[in-house]
Symmetry: C2
Subunit: 237 residues, 2 copies
Amino acid sequence: MANTNELYKKYGSTLNRCELFQGMDEKQWNDLLNHFHEEEWPRESCFINHQKFLFHFFIIVSGRVKMYNVDDFSEKEHTLFLLKKGDVFDLFCLLDGVQHQVYYECIDPLKVLAVPMDDLRDWLKKNPAYYQGFLSYAGKMMRMLEENVSQLIFTDISTRLLKLLLSNVDYSSNRLQHINDLPNKEIANLIGSTRAVVNRHLQKLKRNGSIKVSRNKVQIRDISILLKELNNQNKKL
Amino acid sequence: MANTNELYKKYGSTLNRCELFQGMDEKQWNDLLNHFHEEEWPRESCFINHQKFLFHFFIIVSGRVKMYNVDDFSEKEHTLFLLKKGDVFDLFCLLDGVQHQVYYECIDPLKVLAVPMDDLRDWLKKNPAYYQGFLSYAGKMMRMLEENVSQLIFTDISTRLLKLLLSNVDYSSNRLQHINDLPNKEIANLIGSTRAVVNRHLQKLKRNGSIKVSRNKVQIRDISILLKELNNQNKKL
DNA sequence: CATTATAAACTACCTAAGTAGCACAACAGA
DNA sequence: TCTGTTGTGCTACTTAGGTAGTTTATAATG
């Protein structure tokens, strides 16, 4: 229990931002955290269809993981979600208890809180009031996936790239976050394209003065140009 | 109550195949069906971002509806789901209570059982044992959306068309079902392409003897050729 | 039966995106 | 400092898929 209190003290601010567990107070958190333990995974750890995720559920407290899948034939990668502090995984397994055919790789050294799936499910059964938070979160996830599908069908690569950039701007500092230190290849994986094509579009944005590019680094120079560019994309059709 | 019993008698076999409400017996169904009423919508009825779906939840007992969305700029359509007997909507709204920006159109004359969203949510709160079915179903839906994303990124139109056809074959009769009477345009909307391109690929399949095409009709001639074709697609890369 | 509407079939063309290959820069480790 | 590795920037080329427009077939309607 001392351990539990410690976890809440250490990570309370992160946990309270966690959408999946909305509206829980410290007492309730401590009750739940009883079943958790802390884990650290080094950078570049990679989990390929690992059983791990069928039996434990994780909350990220620091670092990034990409959840991606790989096409059997072309061996191309596609990053489904770039998970970060406050995100959880694997929700797919939690919901239906079926193994999720998907890969994980740590972009940074990762710290997670881990709980056995069954403990979490039991806790839910005993506290059915929290089912609603899980349902809402599932709904939100479905909307994100649906939005993803729409973008893939309706928009071209340069639009998808612009949207990716704009959706990762921290508007308090006007800085790019989460994806600012990724190589072109990883950016390509996020929008379903290839390094060469993404680079082609980044060059265009560099030339019009909206971004700055260097090795493993993309920085925002002028958001207004990006927004104008996105507007033009739409009008084009 | 007489009315309720009637609903179960009429549609029990459909309801029992409904994944969302797994493991319910007649008594429980009748308890739930108390809140339902029957509705009929004519063919080609169209609902555009209608509040209707925020306040009522529907189970289809006969006919097909497409859930689709439209790109604001290109005005292209994409059919997200072709819902049929035993399917429900709108799960997005049920889960998180937020309006779902999506269109509906009846392909056939439609019969649905309707229940006020809040009644269904109340029923769930009183019968928390059934939450698990809803979570599982949400998980399944997420997997479908994820699979959709993967297909869009990894595979070309001809592969997507082949998969669409093969996933709609009724293997007891070797006949195409659900999509067999759609015009090329609607098939295109299902895989995120255009009428002309879909037609191009259908012609190829017609020429190799795997399908038969006529006005508003696609029929399977030889599944083995389709399967072989799908195999070749994969090897191609 | 004639008229109209809708869908299918086909042709020609255009373009975005994928592909391959190479030179160069940045960085890490020995 | 040397060396191997990884990422960027660029050129040249190929191609699937989107686009536009026309003709032909099929069904529905009066």
